[in-house]
């Protein structure tokens, strides 16, 4: 347990020191929220207040930015630089390392959600959500699933140079298609078909159901099940394909 806290402190320091991570995974969702919110936050989207609708979408975007994209890129870089291999020679147990790493991303995401909610309240008058326990559970499920998928994609990427490109090529279109930035209702059929497969779609639906309709999480069986299934796929790939050593060139 002491090792876990020690490593968590180290990971949080590393997170703060990385400007790229801080910007792309942390600040960018907030900047987009401010920009999009200013553009059509006062419109009505799918029958809801635009800013509130957007805030839920931005929480989804934040989740994949931090837990999926940020984690995957960091893991590939550490693996290819040989840092993970180095850690294997120390007495730090792998489970302590992995849980501390994931917890640091969980903390980053929690701060991100708080920042988005505060921004929404201050700039656009979005109400603080009522169903806090359901929302927290939904966010936890989402962040754990996307972390699993992030580790899985890191296991499939072979070089540090390709990491950012590959991760961006997946998560940016996914954010768009799953309706982080707009309502997916106006999308053509092909995109809506794709959206029906993507995990982010179900996470955003889940968050919107809780934040916009005041639903509790246990009424959202389909959304929870699909999201958890994706998380499970991530765990399976991660366990099978993840390696600690660099792919020697």
């Amino acid at each position: 347990m002491n090792l876990f806290w020690h490593e968590l402190k180290g990971e949080l320091l590393l997170y703060l020191r990385s400007r790229e991570l801080a910007f792309f995974t942390f600040l960018l969702p907030m900047i987009l929220f401010v920009l999009l919110g200013s553009a059509y936050g006062s419109d009505t989207i799918d029958g809801y207040d635009g800013a509130t609708f957007l805030e839920a979408g931005m929480i989804g975007y934040g989740a994949i930015s931090v837990a999926f994209a940020g984690l995957a890129i960091v893991l590939v870089i550490r693996r290819e630089a040989g840092v993970l291999k180095r850690l294997r020679a120390t007495p730090l147990p792998a489970p302590a390392y992995v849980t501390a790493l994931l917890t640091s991303y969980l903390v980053a995401f929690a701060l991100e959600v708080v920042a988005l909610v505060v921004l929404g309240k201050v700039l656009f008058g979005v109400e603080i959500p009522d169903e806090i326990p359901s929302l927290v559970l939904a966010l936890l499920l989402g962040v754990v699933s996307f972390c699993a998928l992030g580790i899985a994609i890191a296991a499939l990427i072979r070089s540090a140079e390709g990491a950012s490109a590959a991760v961006n090529a997946i998560y940016l279109p996914m954010a768009f298609i799953s309706g982080s930035f707009f309502s997916a209702h106006s999308f053509p059929g092909v995109l809506r078909g794709m959206a029906d497969v993507l995990p982010l779609t179900y996470f955003i639906r889940l968050v919107r159901a809780i934040m916009l309709d005041g639903e509790a999480i246990w009424t959202q069986g389909t959304n929870v099940a699909v999201l958890a299934a994706w998380g499970l796929v991530g765990v399976i790939i991660a366990v099978r394909a993840f390696r600690w050593e660099p792919h020697e060139g």
């Binding site: 291999k85 730090l92 147990p93």
Partner: protein
């Protein structure tokens, strides 16, 4: 007491037999050099001893434990410097050491390690601003922070300039003075000659010679005597250097002339090494 015992070690990658039946032992408190050209099987061997790779055959004991099944308690007792220095670029040298110190039950104090590897002026510098040699020293510091009994150094000075190399050698000698056992791999002969108590020369996955550096050179080709005569270089190889020299210089003295450009050279480890590693054992 042996820190490391290796018997009949084998490892293949597909059809390639990287290690083909190695036997050697490293005694506690000694610096043991595994010397050989690139691709000889040095790193494969060391990575099996460090617990990174599984062997295909043979017996291996490192600090009395099979590294393939060793756990955290065993890792408390070893220190590893890999071929490349892998670090968190955004941390300072001292932060990096402090982070790693936390992984061990009884680490050495960070400032003591900073001194030991000669990074006092750079202790609060970010890793990404350190020079290649400074990174390598920090790397060594990370291997020492847990106060291990046994240290693996895989080509610790590759890419160093001569001055940085000398400094690294001094540091490694210092570790020996602390009673640490060191397994060093290198393809630099002078490094093995300077640092190692005993050396095993490895080529094509097999040990082709082993012993003290002085013993190895003792089995070497003859002593070489060179001089110039009438502007031409004369090279003599002899097993009786005393007699040959006496004849040569006696004759010159009698004729009251100087032997020009006289050089007497004992075979170096390099000659032994080249003669041992150049031919394939097939």
């Amino acid at each position: 007491m042996n820190a490391i015992e290796v018997r009949g070690l084998r490892k293949s990658y597909g059809a390639l037999e990287a290690v083909r039946g190695l036997d050697f032992e490293v005694r506690s408190g000694e610096v043991f050099g595994l010397l050989g050209p690139n691709g000889a099987g040095k790193t494969t061997t060391v990575e099996i001893l460090e617990g990174y790779r599984k062997r295909d055959g043979g017996e291996v004991q490192v600090l009395g434990t099979d590294p393939a099944i060793a756990g955290g308690a065993w890792r408390e007792r070893i220190g590893v410097v890999l071929q490349s220095s892998a670090m968190y670029e955004t941390l300072t040298a001292a932060e990096m050491l402090r982070l790693f110190a936390g992984y061990y039950r009884e680490p050495r104090p960070v400032d003591e390690v900073v001194e030991l590897v000669g990074l006092r002026e750079k202790r609060d510098e970010r890793v990404r601003r350190l020079s290649g040699g400074q990174r390598r020293r920090l790397d060594l510091g990370l291997a020492l922070i847990g106060d291990p009994e046994l240290i693996f150094l895989d080509e610790p000075t590759t890419g160093f300039d001569p001055r940085a190399r000398r400094q690294a050698w001094e540091t490694i000698r210092g570790l020996r003075g602390l009673g640490k056992t060191i397994l060093l791999t290198t393809h630099y002969l002078d490094e093995a000659e300077q640092l190692a108590d005993r050396v095993a020369v490895i080529a094509h996955g097999q040990i082709v010679a082993s012993g003290k550096p002085s013993e190895l050179t003792g089995t070497a080709p003859a002593t070489e005597i060179r001089y110039r005569e009438n502007g031409r270089e004369v090279v003599l190889q002899t097993d009786e250097p005393t007699r040959v020299l006496n004849d040569l210089t006696g004759e010159a003295l009698a004729q009251r002339r100087e032997v020009e450009g006289l050089v007497v050279r004992r075979p170096s480890l390099e000659d032994v090494y080249l003669s041992l590693t150049e031919e394939s054992p097939e």
